[in-house]
């Protein structure tokens, strides 16, 4: 199933990827092949099959509402490329 170059560029943009023209063509081909496989799967009759969202066969995996604070939030902050006091510092974002 063909996918056009603009679609590839749009997907790249949503994923924050910068692609060269060669890469756009490369992924255009690869994504097209993935879609071909999907088309093949789509030919199966699934009218009597419930949609599967999880293959584990589990449900209601939950924990009690008991606080388990992380020992060292500072360690997480320390990984930040930039920080100011207790905050993560990022480029200005405007709504």
């Amino acid at each position: 199933m063909a996918i056009d170059e603009n679609e590839v560029r749009k997907i790249a943009k949503l994923a924050r990827l910068k692609l060269s023209p060669e890469e756009v063509r490369l992924y255009q081909g690869q994504l097209g092949k993935i879609l071909d496989s999907m088309v093949e799967l789509g030919r199966l009759d699934t009218s009597k099959v419930m949609p599967t969202t999880s293959v584990l066969g589990l449900s209601n995996v939950m924990r009690e509402d008991e606080p388990k604070p992380f020992a060292d939030p500072e360690k997480i902050l320390a990984n930040a490329p930039e920080r100011e006091g207790h905050y993560f510092k990022v480029r200005k974002v405007i709504e």
Partner: protein, 478 residues
Amino acid sequence: MVVGLEVHCQLGTRTKLFCGCANDGFGMTANSRICPVCTGQPGVLPVLNKRAVELAFQAALALDCKLAATSIFARKNYFYPDLPKAYQISQYEEPFSQHGGLDTKLPDGSRKRVRIHRIHLEEDAGKLLHEIGSEELDYSLVDFNRSSVPLIEIVTEPDIRSSDEAYAYLTALKEVLQFVGVSRCDMEKGEMRCDANVSVMLAGSTKFGTRAEIKNVNSFKNVKDALEYEYRRQIEIIESGGTIKQETRLWDAVNMRTESMRSKEEAHDYRYFPDPDLVPLHADPVWVAKLKAALPELPEARRLRLASTFALSAYDAEVLTSEKTLSAYFDEAMSGRPKEFAKPLANLITTELLGRLNKEGKSIAESPVTPKMMASLVELTLNNTISSKGAKEVFAKAFETREDPKVLVEKLGLSQVLDEGQVKGWVSEALAANPQAAADLKSGKEAAAGRIVGAVMKLSKGKANPALVNKLIKEAVK
């Protein structure tokens, strides 16, 4: 005006939705409630908070919604610095509940059911800071204390037709959520947030116009103002021959207008898909039945009960239901007391207590007069130890000193005189001192009794029991 509201409400759990971090980060040191899960570190797994699910289910049950037998979590993908994983865990195609409604009392006294389209569970994003105090920053700061805090989003059908109806719906919604204990709904802390979809429909038409989504309306008053502004804006465009653009607009509470959010104009493509880290959620019937049974009395039912059981006025029933803390105060003062306590208690609460708290800017929880003290004050009036005027005096003093009303009655010398002989003496004295009034009374002019009562009260320094005074005056002039 055609309006649908989307309300985000923070669930009152102890921990976040998918990790054990405390859900109390508001006003705390930035990034002091964070862990690898809620900051999106590689290799972590979210585990669903059972209490959050229970509160969400209870909210849905209280809002008359159907619970889905199975619901799933989905990833909503977008990049923004307040979203550490670059996706928000939400529910999309299979929310946990749909098709409910909330009976809303409109300002004119009529009722309207605002249908609820769906409620879903999701995690909150972090908080961005663009200025410190009044100083605008040329960068942004991120605090993830709020990241992954549990929210429910309650989406109505486009059933709301005026800003007043929107206000009434939000008021009723907040009341239910607070009563059930789903959320404190403190809007100043961002625990309840509202987006509005607004369009206009021409008179006689049944087709909705193009809608604008208004964000950032964070008080009920703002919702009202924003809807009214947006309605006028759309009408003006249509009347001048223009067309409404489907867009997201931001409410600017300072300049009282909505503005197009250009950054959001590029249509979002969230590429939702089921989150492989989370398994389906089943609304087990036994579990649901238990949650349903644990639901407290809802505000509407409570109002009706107060009015019918205790013969309270509609106004008193309304006031004593308007806030959960006030309801609890009344219930605590009433506990173990007979029915006739309700009316004088309601009076003291709605006039004296609320008046005084209001004046001092205090909340019910901060009241120096406890429910127990209030009940004892009512008891003192019902057994005629003090007059209703005396009760007010004792209340005022108790509010200042937190002293027991029984002790205060003695201290202030407010005990009523119930001794017939003593009151009889005052009555004869008063009749003798007011011969004209006494003569009028004897000739059947009952209005004259007021002057005699006044004289008795003066003689007794307000301590004579009024009912006894009236009875003895009647006997004396027979």
